[in-house]
């Protein structure tokens, strides 16, 4: 990638001595997040689903639970969890679908994974003709594949266009819940104190938007993660997402 594309990360990385221990452990960490390659210019960070450090079966079980909770009728044949797990967690598949959604029609993505078999009430995505139902299908596909960020964006889009849609709100709620859980799990204890990890005079050279800038301005080396989220003036999910992003960029540190 070219350095100019994402100056923030490079400025930061180059300012960290190579023998810095935390940097290594950080690099280790990123590997547990499929698709999260910060140096990949194609990577739309916001769309990347973060998978918590859980054993795969537990993870899927949780995802399924949240699906059940939200009462979206998805039949789960008892013996297929392992199979779904395998597919869901296959980084190749996962990444392909996640980072370049437009290149790959959602219906095809779903077929690749044979998900209709398990989620047959989604119907055949190919059957949808108008834009609304195709985005509905894409939302469901993404949801089924574990791309909750993607599903959420679409679900919210559907709600914007059709405020009385019956299905989208459930997906919005469920996606938000799952994502909140995921980000919370990644960030760890809410009682950790948040501190700024970049020298004050370098902050302005990062690439941040005003919301990240706002959160950053609330960090005073005393505030806890929980307090920061409380006073963020955003929804918990948005705040978690930005905090997570700032932490991944090593702009802030928790501990």
């Amino acid at each position: 990638m070219s350095t100019n594309d994402r100056p923030s990360m490079n400025v930061h990385r180059s300012s960290t001595p190579p023998d810095d221990a935390p940097l290594e452990s950080w690099d280790d960490e990123t590997e547990t997040v499929p698709g999260l390659d910060l140096d990949d210019p194609m990577n739309e960070f916001d769309r990347v689903t973060v998978i918590p450090d859980l054993p795969p079966d537990l993870y899927v079980q949780r995802v399924m639970e949240s699906v059940n909770d939200s009462r979206i009728p998805i039949p789960i044949p008892g013996d297929t969890i392992a199979a779904i797990t395998e597919r869901l967690l296959d980084p190749e598949q996962y990444f392909t679908l996640d980072s370049r959604p437009p290149a790959l029609p959602p219906s095809q993505g779903a077929r690749d994974l044979d998900l209709e078999l398990y989620f047959d009430d989604l119907g055949s995505p190919g059957a949808f003709t108008d834009a609304a139902s195709s985005s509905l299908a894409e939302m469901k596909d993404r949801y089924a594949m574990g791309d909750f960020s993607g599903a959420l964006v679409i679900a919210e889009g559907i709600l914007d266009a059709h405020p009385d849609d019956l299905e989208a709100p459930r997906y919005v709620r469920s996606c938000r819940e799952v994502l909140t859980q995921m980000y919370s799990a990644r960030l760890g204890s809410p009682d950790q104190v948040v501190s700024i990890a970049v020298p004050a005079d370098q902050i302005r050279w990062l690439t941040l938007d005003h919301r990240a800038g706002f959160l950053l301005s609330l960090v005073d080396d005393r505030i806890t993660l929980d307090q920061l989220l409380d006073i963020s003036g955003m929804t918990r999910l948005d705040a978690l997402r930005i905090v997570f992003q700032l932490m991944e960029q090593r702009v802030i540190a928790l501990g």
Binding site: A200, H210, F214, I231, G233
Partner: protein, 607 residues
């Protein structure tokens, strides 16, 4: 000996102090600050925030953040102050069941004493953390102009917070008390109090034996540090608009940062001559691009921006002296109170007007709480020499013919006291008389506050002016006013006890006390739960990390599979215990988990 705390319940900041030995000490809060913003908020998730944390989200969560509740406490729904607050406040003010004021925060409605009680409760906790023991009693300060209802409402706020408010004292009196502490003096002082939201000047006479008389109090309840901050914000916004053509006021996050930065810069300029305001990524212009705000503010610029505000305080000082019928040369000392008096320009203006350097022996933002603490200690130690004599904050009297106010007990009378005056009928053949008991300084009855009324009947029919009625006002040590009217000819009598009311009934106060207690318990339970949950989660993470290894080591041995199954069950049970928020259950599971973890570790180290 029971400890009594002194609390300065301010419009913008509150402060708590206690007497340690013979020295008044201000108690810092958990963040290390000696004052705590009197700000209460409820977050989107329904969590209650008090103090600095609430202040830092005051703009981004404006509808659910209460500041300056003191301007509303003890006021009636239809008072001009409340009308004004409804127009200027970002939170929703609604009418309560007794023509009192309520504040809506998310889905709940709170009385004003309840909101103030949250601040008092916070101060109580600060003191308890410091002392390591429960605190029950407090002396709380109020502005000298507060009437009986406002004082009672403040007392009620204390009760709701679980505090027995053993005395309410005037802020300037408390400041003078701290100032005169340990000295025997007899002098006239001016207390110049410029806080965050209000400005007061009081002229006091300090006499021997703890007599502190407030001779006059004048002020502006809408003049304070926030106005200074607003000028800096204006300056920053205008500059940014000129440079980038963007109005930062349109964005709440930007405005919140501007406000925090403006106040910080203002405070810094009290110590240094120049400061830099640096707000990176203040506003986004488009995708992935944000602008920075960076400006240097010099002290002379700040002084120019706020010149008229300082000038206004001087005008009010002139008024206070005129009210006290004193010449400025008769003021023997000037005591500075309020954080804003740290600003050099303010000190210069005060020095200029009074023709003398203000007294700097006491800390302006701490002196009021210290005075309250001194008074509290003196009350429980029964040190007569140190006990303030209570004075009536306002004149008391009745309404007479032509809507006039006839004063019986003048302002600043030391209590207990009793006064009697004789009145006559105003019409021919008048057989009944209505006694309207009022409080205030105006000659016109309708400009004063009505405290209560009663009717005396059975008067002899006679031409006007022929029946004499004796009216007696009595105030006991607890400040309770009773009024007694008697027909001097036939001895017919009628009386009334005037009790100040905060606008809340005793039952309501009891209810609110229970709620406040419940909140505290909940908060403690929450802390315990969070601790247990965290411990459990750490253990779960550790156990799950070990699972693959364990599986490898124990292979297909039956006992191993059993153990793994059990471990998984324990983990699941813990998760559901966490989900059900059952602290006891989580704690039980923590024991199981640590046993599992020890076993796993043992297996791995051997394997």
């Amino acid at each position: 000996m029971e400890r009594v705390i002194g609390i300065d319940l301010g419009t913008t900041n509150s402060c708590v102090a206690i007497l340690e030995g013979d020295t008044p000490v201000v108690i810092p809060n958990r963040g290390g600050y000696k004052t705590t913003p009197s700000v209460v908020a409820v977050t989107e998730a329904g969590k209650r925030l008090v103090g600095h944390i609430a202040k830092r989200q005051a703009i981004t969560n404006a509808e659910n953040t209460v500041y300056a509740a003191k301007r509303l406490i003890g006021r009636k729904w239809n008072s001009p102050q409340v009308k004004n607050a409804i127009m200027t406040s970002s939170y929703t003010i609604v009418e309560g069941p007794h023509a009192d004021v309520r504040i809506k925060l998310r889905d709940k409605t709170f009385s004003v004493p309840e909101v103030s009680s949250m601040v008092l409760q916070e101060m109580k906790i600060v003191a308890e953390d410091y002392l390591g023991e429960p605190v029950k009693k407090a002396v709380v300060t109020v502005p000298a102009y507060f009437n009986d209802n406002q004082r009672q409402a403040t007392k009620d706020a204390g009760a709701i917070a679980g505090l027995d408010v053993i005395r309410i004292i005037n802020e300037p009196t408390a400041a003078s008390l701290a100032y005169g502490y340990g000295k025997d003096m007899d002098r006239t002082v001016a207390v110049y109090d410029l806080g965050g939201g209000t400005f007061d000047v009081s002229i006091l006479e300090i006499g021997a034996h703890g007599v502190f008389k407030v001779i006059s109090t004048t002020g502006d309840t809408f003049l304070g540090g926030e106005d200074f901050d607003a000028r800096i914000i204006d300056w920053l916004v205008t500059g940014f608009q000129d440079d980038h053509g963007i109005d930062l006021r349109q964005d709440r996050m930007a405005l919140q940062r501007l406000r925090d930065a403006a106040e910080k810069a203002k405070c810094e300029l009290s110590g240094v001559r120049e400061t830099e305001i640096n707000l990176p990524f203040i506003i986004s212009t488009g995708r992935n691009e944000a602008l920075h705000l960076q400006r240097t503010l010099a002290r002379p610029t700040l002084e120019k921006l706020t010149e008229d505000l300082v000038e206004r305080t001087v005008d009010i000082c002139k008024q206070a002296l005129a009210d006290a019928k004193l010449d400025v040369s008769e003021v023997e000392d000037v005591i500075l109170v309020g954080g804003m008096t740290r600003m050099p320009a303010v000190q210069t203006a005060v020095t200029g007007y009074f023709g003398r350097e203000p007294n700097k022996s006491v800390h302006p933002d701490e002196v009021v709480a210290m005075g309250a603490a001194i008074q509290g200690a003196a009350l429980v130690q029964d040190r007569r020499d140190m006990i303030l004599l209570d004075v009536t904050p306002h004149a008391l009297g009745i309404m007479t013919f032509g809507s006039n106010f006839e004063e019986l007990i003048p302002q600043n009378t030391t209590v207990p006291t009793s006064r009697t005056k004789v009145f006559t009928t105003s019409r021919d053949d008048q057989t009944a008389v209505k006694i309207l008991v009022m409080q205030g300084e105006s000659k016109r009855a309708d400009e004063n506050e009505l405290l209560g009324e009663f009717i005396l009947t059975g008067l002899r029919r006679a031409p006007k002016g022929h029946v004499e009625i004796e009216v007696t006002f009595e105030i006991n040590t607890d400040g309770i006013v009773s009024v007694h009217a008697k027909d001097m000819e036939n001895g017919q009598a009628q009386s009334i006890q005037v009790t100040a009311t905060s606008g809340l009934t005793q039952d309501e106060i009891k209810n609110m006390m229970t709620n406040a207690q419940d909140y505290l318990v909940e908060r403690r339970v929450d802390e315990h739960f969070e601790a247990a949950k965290q411990e459990a989660e750490t253990l779960i993470a550790e156990i799950e990390r070990l699972f693959p290894e364990i599986e490898r080591v124990v292979g297909s041995a039956d006992f191993g599979r059993d153990a793994i199954a059990k471990a998984r069950t324990t983990v699941e049970r813990t998760r559901s215990a966490i989900d059900s928020k059952d602290t006891g259950l989580v704690k039980e599971q923590v024991d199981q988990l640590s046993r599992t973890q020890r076993m796993f570790k043992g297996v791995v180290s051997r394997g």
